[in-house]
Symmetry: C3
Subunit: 274 residues, 3 copies
């Protein structure tokens, strides 16, 4: 069902401007290339606005803030908003420090985001709900389960309305919600959380898909999550068959994204709409 | 013999706070995840203390200092010391510049470290001995050999007493020394020095093992070195069998750490106590 | 024909000082190690000059400038020029922002470079010619083709004379030009542009080869390009045979560089001199 979304990215090769953390930025650039888009990671205050203004999408990731990158983020988001460039926000480790929460509050006051994407703990923190953030990984008590699924879907639809942005939440069941409609995705494998940056990579992929499909943000965000999940399934299978570990899994994950086509995606997706 | 050390890490999944260099930080985060712990790489002065205070261990790596990271390191180490969070220090390229030596001197004056881990040249520089540092790799004249082993063990036991920290030294023979006791490890392969960050990764792994075993720092540091050495042996074997190079070796090294269990460790270790 | 160039690097293990972007710095350090040299990525203003002064070569890459790295670059290049350490400049994304163009202009006014290496769009921007820079990837209209090859070779020979530096240009046909002589290399595969950092890696490799061969800059730069191209050919073949994607391709590329010898290089090279 997401054929057109994938095709638009490969055809238009949108320029995706990322201001992200340096821990996983190489993986983010590589996944953007793997799906057919073109990355640029410029984060100097002196050039952030100039580059964001001509980008197809902007990916903002707060996994490693400092005074310089925060200043550049403000420049870039303001320019993107002005030029109607869709902005994806990944609130990495939201709730883990006062600095991150204050930065996020400032962002939400001043700017519009197309998608806010993170794990459950981060999104709960963004929503101001009680959350169990532990560093940058999701707290166990926050997990989306089949038992609390209805409640969580309702919560994230409301959060989407409140933020004026598509909300994309990663977990055992991924939820991609607009105020009216939510995609639920059951692809992916826990091994993905044993490799750093799979969340950051998904945000970068979401930005790439949004950049190629600025009129279909909800579907673009859902397609990115599904593509990442199906790639995770494929990579896990390959890793287990060969008796390998997380190093190989990470390589196979990138392989699977670079080889992803509509047939593989549709054949592998476990998707539900609520 | 290190079963309990490994098990404690996988069970408690300690949060490991790293302020390290951006060259190898992705590998550091991945090895922390691979051994069962949880990484966070926050390095802003605005949040470093807050995050270090709740971490299981702190990993400080001076491979790429600047004014901002040095300030964050001071905040984080002070908070860790106050909250009894063990701190691992990796004095990368100590002796290669005045800036690094001054930063280290300042650290040793003000703070306590649980483990100081580096290559021989770096530890000799830390000890104020004559050293042949060349960039960030160990100088050949500094190498620990079977000939100078006794002398070097004695030196590092004394250095451990002087620093009030376990001293963990990488080389053809690794030495992990407290004032009274030293573990000698003969695992690992020179190919490890043809991949960047294997030293940084070992420091991160040491922090993860210390985070899960704060009452057994010497054993935790030794277990980390042995695990890395055995992983190096396994990765080298796989690389040679497949006729591959350093790119594959790096992937197999991460695989081996993520698959490491007590049986593999005990079956492969070449350990001596002096 | 480049036997001696390769051998000098492996024998002398020159220390290569890189001030580069954090997106691909891990790959740069790894390729320097893979070819037999020794990397150091120090970029603090406080130590950049001290380290550059004793390096075998300096690699400057403007892919992610900020006020701190620009200051460190000035310190390092000035020290390298003073001590006759060859400097390789990679003008990543030249033309993509005013900040980068101003920084480059400042560099060319003040310093001497041994090699300026980039893609066609970047070199055209450096030359002040009309260029179609799009982020950090080469614009399609700028491509070197068999049709415009003569014209481009002439242009880059002139640019080499104007800059007082060897000009090394990557594309479907690579051109490595001095004022009098140009090497044309037809190795490599478009998949290289689907992995981030292959350009940065080639600049780092060029610096390593120059560090081992400071008297033969043109040949060193040509050998680096040919080695990267032949490695790309090998990696592409392995990736296709195994039905894998860009994640595996990246690993195989590093493997091929670490295994590169004169026989493989001479057997695989598609080189022409004009």
């Amino acid at each position: 069902m997401f054929e057109q979304i994938l095709r638009n990215v490969r055809r238009q090769q949108p320029l995706i401007h990322c201001i992200t953390n340096y821990i996983t930025t190489n993986d983010c650039a590589n996944i953007i290339l793997a799906c057919g888009a073109s990355p640029t990671m410029a984060e100097a205050e002196q050039e952030a606005a100039e580059i964001a203004a001509v980008a197809g999408a902007l990916d903002i990731n707060i996994g490693n803030l400092n005074a310089m990158t925060v200043a550049a983020m403000h420049q870039a988001i303001a320019a993107a908003n002005w030029h109607n460039v869709p902005v994806v926000l990944d609130p990495v480790g939201a709730g883990a420090s006062t600095y991150r929460m204050n930065t996020l509050r400032d962002f939400f006051e001043k700017y519009r985001f197309a998608v806010v994407r993170g794990n459950v703990s981060e999104l709960l923190a963004v929503g101001g709900a009680a959350s169990n953030t532990k560093g940058v990984d999701a707290g166990a008590a926050d997990a989306v389960t089949e038992e609390n699924l209805d409640e969580r879907v309702t919560f994230f639809k409301q959060l989407s309305a409140q933020l004026g942005a598509v909300v994309s939440v990663s977990g055992a069941v991924d939820i991609i919600a607009s105020p009216q409609k939510a995609y639920l995705c059951r692809n992916g494998h826990p091994m993905m959380s044993r490799v750093t940056g799979t969340g950051c990579m998904l945000s970068a992929l979401t930005a790439a898909y949004c950049g190629g499909n600025p009129e279909d943000i909800l579907e673009a965000a859902a397609a990115a999550t599904v593509a990442m999940g199906v790639a995770g399934d494929i990579a896990y299978r390959k890793t287990m068959e060969a008796g390998q570990g997380t190093g190989s899994f990470r390589v196979y994950l990138m392989d699977a994204i670079s080889l992803m086509d509509a047939e593989t995606l549709n054949g592998g997706m476990k998707l539900e709409i609520r």
